[in-house]
Every structure is written in C-alpha cells, then in structure tokens.
C-alpha cells in the first residue's frame, strides 16, 4: 500500500493538500485540469520537492529519497521516449537486464520495433514501448499520467485491457491520472477525486 500526505504551496492562489492511500491495483486520480493531479504524481515520484511530503510504501519511507531510489515508474503523457535510443535501448535503460527488456517488448507486442527509434513508431507502438519501459523496471509503484489521451478510441480500449492484465499480474499500487471515465471502468479502478488541489 502506498500512502501519501502531501502539502505544497505553488503560489498565493494555488496550494496542494492531498492525502492518498493506493492499494495494489489501479486507483484513478480524477479531477479537472489544473487541479494538481500531475503535480501529485511528480511529488510521489520525487521529481518535485513539496513543502511537506510524507510518503510511505508499506513501512518504507520515501521522504527525501531521490527519484532513482524510489523504484517508481512514471509513464508521462508525452511518453518521454528517449529520441536518440532505439525502442529496445529505451526499455533497457531502466530494466535490470537485457532479457527483461526483450521480454517486456514481447509482452507489449512490440518486439518487431526493437531496433527502431521513437520517431519512426506509430502512436500505438510508442505507447506500448513506453509502457514496456515502465514495467520492465519491475517497479514497486506505477504512476500513469494520462498515458492514453493521444490514442484513437479502438486502440485506447485495447491497450487498457492489456494493461489491466499486466497490472493484475504484477499486483502493485498503480495511480492513474485520467479524464476519461472509460479508463476508470475498464481498469476497475478505485477513484480519488481531486479539485483545487484537495482530495
């Protein structure tokens, strides 16, 4: 179980005051644009330093740990595939071994693009490579920041079903930021609402 108690003041008009409990499985963080969803993910991942962040995974405190020591994978809305690396090298970047990277490309059904650079991938292929990269790291926590927002409807649906299988198998706390009600339904997600920086 991931537990987070976060407070952070961005400026005079906006502050974050969030309390989360994310058990294994998918929890959706839903709310309007600018409500603090992405900032919450970034603080949990250690990418943004909060005024106060008490984050625990089980009995282990993540407070003060740099991102690379949190064993968390974050799939960005833009996917953030490294443009100078091939798909396999992207997945290998965080994976414990070459075979893990290769296996995850196979599991995500994109082993045929292993030697291709991100710019030559279709939207769906890039999405699968980004998910493979996040999962190949064997994370203790998975954070998904609207990862399917750029996909067409059919592909969106298909990827959601595949992702559900993988997350169920891994049984790790997964926090999904989404605007889409379909994501919540398909992933059987618990829902936490956030508005104006407050859960």
């Amino acid at each position: 179980m991931l537990k987070a108690r976060i407070t952070h003041r961005f400026d005079a008009r906006f502050a974050l005051d969030v309390t989360l409990e994310v058990p294994p499985g998918v929890t959706a963080l839903v709310g309007p644009s600018g409500s603090g969803k992405t900032s919450t993910l970034q603080i949990i991942a250690g990418l943004l330093k909060a005024d106060s962040a008490d984050i625990h995974l089980g009995s282990t405190s993540w407070s003060g740990l740099p991102p690379e020591r949190r064993n968390v994978s974050l799939v960005f809305q833009s996917l953030a595939l490294f443009p100078h690396l091939t798909a396999l090298q992207n997945v290998r970047f965080g994976a414990p071994s070459d075979s893990d990277a290769t296996q995850w490309l196979e599991r995500m059904r994109v082993s045929h693009v292993a030697k291709r650079k991100p710019r030559s991938l279709s939207g769906g292929e890039a999405q699968r490579v980004a998910l493979a990269r996040a999962l190949a790291r064997a994370p203790s926590v998975l954070l998904l920041d609207e990862p399917f927002s750029a996909l067409d409807s059919a592909l969106h649906e298909r990827l959601l079903h595949e992702l559900r299988e993988h997350i169920t198998a891994l049984n790790i706390p997964t926090l999904l930021v989404t605007h889409d009600e379909r994501d919540v339904r398909t992933l059987s997600a618990r829902t936490i609402a956030i508005e104006n920086g407050r859960t």
Binding site: Q42, A45, G46, L47, P66, P67, E68, R70, N71, V72, S73, L74, F76, S78, A80, F82, P83, H84, F93, G94, R119, R133, R137
Partner: protein, 217 residues
C-alpha cells in the same frame, strides 16, 4: 601545407580542445542564476574590441603579473609572444561561443526526458551522460565548430598577444596582413582564399549541426 595556415590550424585545434573541456563544466556552473557575473565575464570577450581584449591578455599574461611570473618560473619561458600564449588567447576568444552554444543546447533538452531517466533509476550523473549530453551534442558541436572558426581567423588578439614572429606566432591572418603590406598580392590572395574556404566549410557544418535533425522545410 603553408606554414602560417598550418600554425593557425594547430593553434585553433588545441584551443578548441581546451575550450570544449572548459565549456562542459562551465555551462552547468553559469546556468545558476547567482553566478550571472561569471557568465557575463566569460561572455564579454565576444563583444570586446580585439585590441582591448588583446591588451588585457597581454597585461595579465605579461612577466609583471603573478600568472606571467609563475609561468616563467615553471616553464622557463615567457607566455606572451609565444605559440602557447596565442593558444591561451584563442581559448579566451572562442570560449564564449562554445560556452553559450553548450549552455543553450543543454538547457534545450526536454526536462521531461531528464525526469523520465530519473524515474527509471538513473542518478544525476547517468542522466547527464546518457541522456542530456547525447541530446545536446548537435548544438554543442555547432558551438565547437564556430569556436574553432573564431580561433582560426583571429587577428587582433593574436597580434597583441603574439606579436608577429615568423614560425612562432605568425598565423594565417597575420601573414595575410604582412603580405598585403609588403605588396605580395598573390600570396595574400591565396592565403585569404584558403582561410575563407575553411571558414565557409566550418560555418556550413555549424549551420547543419544547428538545425534540428530530420527537420523539413
């Protein structure tokens, strides 16, 4: 190859190597807002008249300063009016170009990619060497090529710091001036064409590198 031109290439090559080694750590350092004075100091040679910069360097490296005396004590020779002296001068004149290009290239790397690397377990060093530097390399190389071109064609600072000693400090630019003054028009023309040719090639390479890869018109 022509002696002065070869000397210019030699000086520009060594100076560019030193400049590149300096620019990498300095680019990260001067990007801190509090070090804006250092940033301004390192960039100033870009806008100073060559004679003014040459004068300051002549004073700083001269035998009456700590630097000049220390150099004399260690190496047994003066720093000014030597090839080594004009290499240092070339470093100072080309550093702003390489530094600013390196800095812009590093700051231009998408921060999301840097963040992605961190969440994939890479520490700051691995992120810098595996993600930031490779992605910034084209912009950095463009700056390095421009720095080389600047060092290759320098006249004023080289004249001030190096004098114009044949075989020692007479670079291609100075040799062109000498040939022109002595009415050796053909020699001046040949050297000028060679230097212009080098410069056109170098600037073309820098322009090509400065363009985004796979950008279409």
């Amino acid at each position: 190859m022509n002696g002065p031109l070869w000397l210019s290439l030699e000086i520009a090559s060594i100076a560019t190597l030193l400049t590149t080694l300096l620019a990498l750590p300095l680019a990260s350092l001067v990007s801190h807002r509090r070090l804006f004075v250092l940033d301004a100091l390192l960039t100033t040679p870009l806008v100073l008249p060559p004679t003014v910069l040459g004068y300051f360097l002549l004073v700083v490296m001269g035998n009456h300063t700590v630097i000049g005396r220390a150099w004399q004590a260690v190496f047994g020779s003066s720093l000014v009016f030597t090839t080594t002296g004009i290499v240092f001068a070339a470093v100072i004149t080309s550093l702003p170009l390489v530094l600013q290009a390196t800095r812009a290239a590093i700051e231009g790397v998408d921060v999301t990619l840097v963040n992605a690397a961190r969440t994939l377990g890479a520490n700051r060093f691995k992120t810098y060497t595996r993600i930031t530097l490779p992605l910034a390399s084209r912009g950095m190389c463009a700056g390095i090529v421009l720095g080389f071109a600047r060092a290759l064609g320098d006249f004023g600072v080289t004249m001030m710091v190096g004098g114009n000693l044949p075989g020692e400090t007479r670079t291609a630019s100075l040799a062109i001036y000498d040939a022109f003054i002595a009415d050796r028009a053909t020699e001046a023309l040949h050297l000028s064409l060679m230097l212009a040719g080098f410069s056109i090639v170098l600037v073309s390479v820098a322009t090509l590198l400065g363009r985004r890869p796979h950008a279409h018109a």
